[in-house]
């Protein structure tokens, strides 16, 4: 049974590089953290979310673990990105959005209470976007932006953070000689790692990744995934992905969403090899989605 399911994952139509997939898919189970060994960091309970009058999330409840990678998967329009953007209140920037019911607590603090400073929240909960979006500034300026807006001007401190962040994002060796060139001069994969470096420069606790590899080629994707493994030693990572291979490769736990509802949430290994729900099984085995 087990081997059959693993093989079916590798054949999922999402993957742009079927030839690279089988070897990786086999890798999956070994790299996943054992379940139940981590503390809960984020508690989402009974969340109903609306875009204007249209409800996008229905009664979602799930607990996310500290210093683990959690993947949100599901077909397009299932609400996984919406939920992700609720976690640092990026949805506040869109007119007419509202949470009608339910709470999101990080370390027990409800982040939607009126007395919450959204700016502070976003410093703690960093984000990496689907399309790499470095500012039209130098590499150095890109990374120090988050610190400068907090008023940190000390050159030595900034230099130190730039090196640490770039090393953290496995980009230091590639760009150390051209820190003052435009961030837009980098290749797509490098730009995305620059965005990751920029996010970790402000030392958040949580990093949200919204399909970080969807615009990257397989080699660049492999590098970012490698990076995610490194990053989870320090950060709690939540990643939205369309690629089930990716979810299988990088995450410890996986949540499957379907039309705004959490369908199944469990250890990644369980979700891919022994899903309880028929819908989940159909999706992870590539029968729909």
């Amino acid at each position: 049974m087990v081997t059959t399911r693993t093989a079916s994952v590798s054949l999922a139509p999402m993957d742009s590089t079927p030839s690279a997939a089988p070897a990786r898919a086999i890798n999956v189970p070994q790299r996943n953290e054992p379940a139940g060994s981590a503390r809960t960091l984020i508690e989402i309970s009974n969340l109903d979310f609306f875009y204007g009058a249209k409800q996008a999330l229905f009664d979602n409840t799930l607990m996310l673990d500290e210093k683990r990678v959690t993947a949100f998967i599901g077909p397009s329009g299932c609400g996984k990105s919406t939920l992700l953007r609720c976690l640092n209140r990026m949805n506040d920037l869109i007119d007419g959005t509202s949470i009608k019911r339910g709470t999101i607590k990080i370390r027990g603090v409800d982040i939607y209470q009126p007395d919450v400073d959204v700016i502070e929240l976003r410093k703690r909960v960093g984000m990496v976007f689907q399309k790499s979006n470095p500012f039209p500034k130098s590499i150095y300026e890109n990374i120090t932006y988050g610190l400068r807006i907090q008023g940190i001007q000390s050159k030595s401190r900034l230099d130190e953070v730039v090196e640490r962040s770039l090393r953290g994002a496995a980009l230091w060796d590639e760009v150390k000689d051209r820190l003052h060139e435009s961030g837009l001069s980098l290749s797509g994969g490098q730009q995305q790692r620059l965005c990751i470096a920029r996010a970790i420069a402000v030392e958040p606790e949580i990093i949200l990744m919204d399909e970080p590899c969807s615009a990257l080629d397989p080699i660049a994707t492999a590098k970012v995934e490698e990076l995610i493994h490194e990053l989870k030693k320090q950060f709690t990572i939540i990643i939205v992905t369309h690629s089930m291979q990716q979810a299988a490769r990088v995450s410890d736990k996986t949540a499957f969403f379907y039309i705004g509802k959490l369908d199944e949430y469990d250890d990644t290994r369980t979700i891919f090899m022994n899903p309880k729900n028929a819908q989940t099984e159909a999706y992870v085995s590539g029968r729909f989605g």
Binding site: N88, M90, K131, P136, G146, I149
Partner: protein, 534 residues
């Protein structure tokens, strides 16, 4: 059996054109030609305008040279050399009068003396300044006498030229007898000028006498106890010394002056571009210098942009980045509607409301600490500039808002996700990313302002003179004339083909070149901006 036959003889591969043609063109081609023709009309019209402006304007230089040649040959230039001495003296006398005004203010305001007492304290000063201003008399007499002589020579020459034209016209019409009857009196400049140049010894004598009087007066210059007044008086003495030192140079130039020396064409050009006087229909000599008009246009535009940049860019930032959807729906059409107000209505508003209001405001005692208040002229560079700002705001607003809109949403999101406030995001990300677009918006606003005619014609005061920049900020309360205004005002009255007519064309050409440059630079900047966003 039939299907088999069909298989052996395949259908013909019919791909030949079969469309009907009209004048050798298919329907598609006709439509293409129509659209292409419309597009090229713009190119052709621009080329025609340029050609027309250049053709009409270029002849100005030969005409201007002819005019300058007469100015020299008829001896007007010679007399002006002398007159310069007189005019400089007048300027110095005015300075002296200004010092007196300041002294009176000092005595009445600061020391609280009644006006009569203040005047009494200046009796010695008045006597001295009277002597100072009378010293010029011998030179002045000579200059005014020679002015008549020189203009008589010029008139004579002008009449002779007119007669020659008349004869040529008659000959053209075949009226030989009438043509022969036209008497043309040839002007021999050399003999005519002998009267003028013969007066040089007299001028030298008068000049030396005058210089002697001033030099004698200087040591007895009245002194003031007040430090500021004394400083101005010292400055006056220094200026007079400088003036006196220039005397030998005047004489030297008069001695070496030669009426036959030709005037280079370049002089005619520089005389226009750098000319500090625009003087038409003068009994003496017409000057066509664009500088007073250019400075007027620049000053009015400077006022307009100083007001319009913060208003336009500020409004664009607010509407694009901060405003709610409802505010956007209110503000945007309002600003864009301003562009729809006819400029003549704005000009009317400027005269009737803004000019009056500014002057009424400047009458308040409490506001007299503002430099330039109370305003002497109701219509001035500031009034016109304020209204022009209204005209520039919609242009700047619309284009700047476009530029802000073009900043990818991803930049803003990334900034917010890093914990930036809305203001930090605007200042550090959105504005820098759209800066080149904003700059080109401002440039195009400038182009809009410098080309605007009606408002400046109605509200700028239309005094053709370079404003007195020594007056500091209050220079903006002085009336000015502009390049656009002068064309609108004078084009209707000039004789077609005359030098004045051509001069107006040249002004138009200057405007055209400025507009072209502004648009070119703005486009360059925008293009660079597009590339940088990728």
């Amino acid at each position: 059996m039939e299907p088999v036959l069909n298989a052996e003889e395949p259908k013909p591969f019919a791909i030949k054109k079969t469309r009907t043609r009209f004048l050798g063109l298919t329907l598609d081609e006709t439509i293409q030609t129509f659209f292409g023709g419309n597009a090229f009309v713009a190119v052709i019209v621009l080329a025609l305008i340029t050609l027309f402006l250049v053709k009409e304007g270029a002849q100005f230089f030969t005409q201007n040279r002819a005019s300058m040649t007469v100015y020299r040959q008829a001896g007007l230039e010679y007399v002006d050399l002398m007159r310069q001495q007189e005019e400089d003296h007048i300027a110095l006398t005015r300075y002296l009068f200004d010092v007196r005004m300041q002294a009176i203010r000092q005595y009445t305001d600061a020391e609280g003396l009644p006006l009569a007492d203040a005047n009494a304290r200046l009796v010695a000063f008045d006597e001295w300044s009277g002597q100072y201003s009378d010293a010029i008399e011998p030179v002045r007499g000579l200059v005014s006498e020679l002015t008549d002589v020189a203009s008589a020579i010029k008139t004579k020459f002008t009449i002779a030229e007119d007669k020659a034209i008349e004869r040529a016209q008659l000959l053209d019409e075949g009226k030989t007898e009438e043509a022969a009857a036209v008497v043309i009196e040839t002007v021999d400049f050399k003999t005519e000028l002998a009267v003028l140049t013969g007066t040089l010894p007299m001028f030298k004598e008068a000049s030396v006498d005058f210089a002697g009087q001033l030099t004698a007066l200087l040591p007895t210059a009245p002194a003031f106890s007040d430090a500021v007044l004394q400083a101005r008086m010292d400055r006056f003495v220094a200026l007079t010394r400088q003036y006196l030192d220039g005397f030998p140079e005047v004489v030297r130039r008069m001695e070496t002056w030669d009426f036959e020396e030709p005037i280079p064409l370049a002089r005619s050009f520089t005389g226009f571009i750098f000319g500090r006087q625009w003087l038409t229909a003068s009994f003496w000599q017409d000057w066509y210098g664009v500088i007073p008009l250019f400075v007027g246009s620049l000053m009015v535009s400077a006022v307009a942009l100083t007001l319009a940049i913060p208003l336009g860019v500020g409004a664009a930032i607010y509407v694009n980045q901060i405003a709610t959807a409802r505010e956007q729906r209110l503000i945007k059409p309002c600003i864009e509607f301003i562009a729809a107000i006819p400029s003549v209505v704005l000009g009317f508003f400027g005269i009737a409301v803004l000019g009056e209001a500014l002057r009424a405001l400047s009458q308040f005692e409490n506001l007299h600490w503002i430099p330039g208040f109370p305003i002497a002229e109701r219509l001035n560079a500031l009034t016109a500039g304020c209204l022009l700002a209204l005209i520039a705001v919609p242009t700047i607003f619309t284009l700047a808002e476009d530029a802000l809109n073009n900043v990818p949403r991803a930049f803003r999101e990334a900034s917010f996700a890093l914990g930036a406030t809305r203001l930090q995001t605007i200042v550090k990300i959105t504005i820098p990313a759209s800066l080149s677009g904003i700059v080109s918006a401002v440039l195009l606003g400038f182009g809009r302002v410098i080309g605007e005619t009606m408002v400046v014609l109605l509200c700028a005061g239309n005094r053709i003179a370079i404003p007195d920049f020594t007056a500091g900020v209050t220079v903006f309360f002085q009336p000015v004339h502009t390049m656009t205004g002068i064309i609108a005002q004078e084009m209707g009255e000039v004789v077609r083909g005359s030098i004045h007519y051509r001069a107006l064309f040249m002004v138009g050409l200057v405007l055209f070149v400025i507009a072209l440059l502004i648009n070119f630079i703005a486009q360059k900047i925008v293009r660079r901006y597009r590339i940088s966003i990728g």
